[in-house]
C-alpha cells in the first residue's frame, strides 16, 4: 500500500503543484492542518495519564505550532493574504475538521494507544508526502529548504510514536497495537468517504432547497414585507414568564 501510495503521489503531485496558486493553497492548508494538530497534541499533553509521554506530546505540539507559522508565512509570500480573512472566519470549522469534534479532542475519542497509532501513521504519511515533493523538485528552493527543516521534526514524531508503540508491543499488547494501527489505517478512507457523502448530501439538499425556495416560497412574497426600521414597543407577553420560558418560540 505504501508503494502504491508513493506511486500515486508521484503521479498526482506534479499536476497538483503546477496549477495556478497551488503553492498558496497547499501551504495555507498545511498551516491549518499543523495548527489543528498542535491543538490536539496540547490536549494529549494535558490529558495523558502517562507522565513520561506528556513531554513528548508537548514538544510535538510546539513543533506543530512552529510549522503552522512557517507554512502560513510562506503561504503569505505567495499572496495567501487574500484568503486570510476568510480563513479566520472559518477557523473554527477548519479546526473541527482537524480533530476537535463535539468538544472532544482526538486523544479523548481514541484513547492513548489508538492516538499514538494515529500520530504514527499521520506523521509517516506526511514524511512520505513531503519526501516526494522534495525528490521530484516540485518546490522552489526556499520552500523546499523550509520543508526539509520541518521534515526533521516529522522524523522525530514518527520515531517517538513508533518507539512507544513498540513499547506497548513488548509489554504484551501487540494485538492491541496491531488493531489500533488497522483501525487508523481504515479510518482515513472511511472518513474521506464520509466527507464525500456529506458533500454530496449538501449538494442534493441545496438543489432541492433552492427548488423549494423558488417554487414554493415565491407566492408568499406577495404578502411579505421587510420589517420597518425604528423602535417599536414590545407588547406584554400574555403567558406567564415560566410558561414563556418553557417554549422555544
Amino acid at each position: 500500500m505504501g508503494k502504491l501510495r508513493r506511486t500515486w503521489l508521484k503521479l498526482v503531485s506534479p499536476l497538483a503543484w503546477s496549477r495556478p496558486g497551488a503553492e498558496r493553497r497547499f501551504l495555507a492548508s498545511f498551516s491549518e492542518t499543523e495548527r489543528g494538530s498542535a491543538v490536539d497534541m496540547l490536549a494529549a499533553a494535558e490529558l495523558t495519564e502517562r507522565r513520561d509521554l506528556r513531554r513528548k506530546y508537548f514538544i510535538h505540539a510546539l513543533d506543530e505550532t512552529r510549522h503552522a507559522r512557517l507554512f502560513a508565512r510562506r503561504a503569505g509570500d505567495f499572496g495567501a493574504e487574500s484568503v486570510r480573512a476568510r480563513a479566520a472566519l472559518n477557523d473554527a470549522n477548519t479546526l473541527q475538521a482537524h480533530g476537535i469534534v463535539g468538544g472532544r479532542s482526538l486523544f479523548e475519542r481514541y484513547g492513548e494507544l489508538e492516538f499514538l497509532a494515529f500520530v504514527h501513521r499521520s506523521e509517516a504519511l506526511a514524511v512520505e508526502q513531503f519526501g516526494v515533493y522534495h525528490d521530484l523538485e516540485l518546490l522552489d528552493e526556499k520552500t523546499d529548504q523550509m520543508l526539509q527543516n520541518i521534515l526533521r521534526d516529522e522524523h522525530f514524531h514518527v520515531g517517538y510514536s513508533r518507539t512507544e508503540l513498540e513499547r506497548y508491543t513488548r509489554s504484551g499488547k501487540g494485538a492491541d497495537v496491531q488493531r489500533a494501527l488497522r483501525k487508523v489505517f481504515w479510518r482515513r478512507p472511511w472518513e474521506a468517504w464520509m466527507r464525500f457523502s456529506v458533500q454530496i448530501g449538501h449538494v442534493v439538499t441545496s438543489f432541492w432547497m433552492t427548488v423549494l425556495y423558488l417554487v414554493v416560497v415565491a407566492p408568499f412574497k406577495l404578502g411579505a414585507a421587510r420589517e420597518r426600521p425604528g423602535f417599536r414597543d414590545v407588547p406584554p407577553d400574555p403567558r406567564s414568564r415560566m410558561t414563556a420560558a418553557r417554549g422555544q418560540g
Binding site: 495548527r35 491543538v39 496540547l42 494535558e46 507522565r51 506528556r54 513531554r55 508537548f58 514538544i59 505540539a61 510546539l62 505550532t65 512552529r66 507559522r69 503569505g76 493574504e81 487574500s82 486570510r84 480573512a85 476568510r86 479566520a88 472566519l89 477557523d91 473554527a92 473541527q96 476537535i100 463535539g102 468538544g103 472532544r104 526533521r152 521534526d153 522525530f156 517517538y160 449538501h202 439538499t205 441545496s206 432547497m209 433552492t210 423549494l212 425556495y213 423558488l214 416560497v217 415565491a218 412574497k221 411579505a224 421587510r226 420589517e227 426600521p229 425604528g230 423602535f231 417599536r232 414597543d233 414590545v234 414568564r241 415560566m242 420560558a245 418553557r246 417554549g247 422555544q248 418560540g249
Partner: protein, 587 residues
Amino acid sequence: MATWILGMSALFHDAAVALVRDGEVVAAAQEERFTRIKHDAELPVRAAEWALAEAGIDATELDHLVFYEKPLAKFQRILVNSVAEFPRAWRSFPRAMQTWLGRKLWIAGEISRTFRVPPHKLLFSEHHLSHAASAFLPSPFDEAAILTIDGVGEATTTAIWRGNRTAPHVEPVAEVVFPHSLGLFYSAMTAFLGFAVNEGEYKVMGMAAFGRPRFMEQMRALVRLREHGSFELDLDAFCWHWHPSESFTGKLVSILGEPRFPGAPFDPTTPEGQHWADIAASTQAMLEEAVLHVARYARERVDLPNLCLAGGVGLNAVANTRLAVEGPFDQLWVQPAAGDAGGALGAALWCWHDLLEHPRVLNQRYRCDLGRRWTDAESAEILQDLRAPREQLSPQQRLNRAVDDLTTGGVIGWFQGCAEYGPRALGHRSILADPRGAGTRDRVNARIKYREAFRPFAPAVTAEAADRYFDLHTALTGPVQYMVATGTVRPEYREELAAITHIDGSARVQVVHPEHSPLFHSLLEAFGERTGMPVLLNTSFNLKGDPMVDTPIDAVAALYSSDLDAVYVGCHRVTRSERIRGGDLRD
C-alpha cells in the same frame, strides 16, 4: 437545599456556561478555553463538565438549564426574512435550511441528551433578554435603564429595557428588529476594511484613532438617524439579510471605493493607509453617534440616571466612553462579557431572579475571575513532567522576581488564580510588560502576540494612582475596572508611557483595586515602588489566533512559541529552555 441553574450560550459564537447556586455565580467559562478553538460555538460540553465538577454536583442535580435564546423564534425570523427578500435570498435559504433542519431546530433534544437534563428542566431565555440580564442583574444599580446592542438575536438587534427593583427585574420597553442593525453595520465595515468579522472589530477601533472622520457624510447616508431614537440602514449597500457569506454590496464600494485587501499592511503615514484609517474613523464615529442617539431615546423612555449596557457593541470601549461622557446618564455599567458568552450568565441570573422571583442582592463589585484555576500542586506536577526550567517562589519572592523581570525589559506571562470570564484579561491570564517606552509595544506586537503593529495595548494601574496618570470620567468608575472603557493618558506622561498610549492619547485602562484583585494590585504596587509608576502594560495571555491560555500547559506552550521571557504559573516561575526549543531533549 440549594437551587442550581446552568446558563448556556452556543451555536453562534462564543459558547459558554455559567453555573449559579442560589443566585450566586460559582463558575463561568467559555468553551474555547477548553477546546482551544477561538470563539468555539459548539455546545459547551467541556465547560459544563468543568463547572459541574467545580461545584461538586452532577448534571442530575441541576434544577434548570437555561439556553440563552429561543431557537424557534430565530428560525421564524430567518424564514420570514427569506420570503421578504425573495428571490435574492436564494443562496442563503438552502444553507440556512440545512443548518436548521439538520440540527438547530432539534437543539432542545440534543441539549437534553448531551447534558443529561430532562426536558422539563430545560428553559429558554431570549437573546437580548439574556444580554440585558447579564448587564443589569450583576450591576451595582438597584434600578437602571438597560441598552442591548448587537448583530442580531432572534429578530431584535437593539433593545431598551427597564431594570426594576422587583420582579420582573428586566422588563422590555422597545426594540429595533433585523435587518436594521448597528452591530451588523460595524461588522460589515470590519469586512470592508479587510478584517475578519467577529474578530477584527477591535482592529477597526484601533485603526480609527489614526484617521479623521472625513467620510461622515457618506456614513450618515448609510446609517440614517431618525426621530425617537431610531436608525435606518441603507440596505442597498449591505447584504447580510440576503447573502449567505458577504455583508456589503457594490453600492458601498461605489460610495467608499474599493475595499481593503485582507492582510494588506497598514501604514497610516501613506495616503492609502490614511484612507483606510479615515474610513475606520468615520465608521467608529458613526457608531458612536448612533449609540448616543439610541441612548438619548432610552433615557426618554426609562427616566433613570443609570445605564447598563451589553451586547457585542458593548465591547466597543471607545463608544462606551463617549456614551458615558456625552450621553444622558450619570453612571454607566457594562457587562465585561458583553458578547454572546455573557448571555449564559444573563440567562442563569434571569432564571433565578425573574422566573423563580428571588430578590436581588446589590453587588457592588462584579467578579470576572469565574473560570478554571489550578492549585500550585497541580501546576507543579505538570511543570515537572514538561521538565521546563522553573523555580518555586514564596509570594514575596514571586512579586520581586516578576518586578525584576519587568524592569529589565522582560515580558512575562502572568497565570494566577481563576481565569477571567469574557474577552478581557484582568490580571489572571495576562501578558505583562513595562509600559515605559514604545519599544515594548513593538516587541509584544511583533514577537509575542504576532499581531499588527498599529494595535494598541492597555494599561493596568492601581486605583490609588489612576488619576495621576489618566483622565477618567466619573461616569466610568465601573467600566474602567473591566477594560470596557477608555481614558486619556495625561499629556505629561504620554511620552513616558508610550507603550500603552494610543496615537490619540487614549488608553483602555484597567483600574485595579486591592480588595478586588489583591495579587495583581500587589504586583502593580511592587512595580511602582521600584519604578515610581504603578502601571503595567496588560494584554491577554494568548498568541495570535488562539484563545486565552487556560492551563499551565497552554501557558508554557505560549512561552516556548513566542518571545516571552518567563511565565509565572501560580508560585512557579518558568523560563524557556533552549534545549527544548532546539529539540535536543528528544530522548
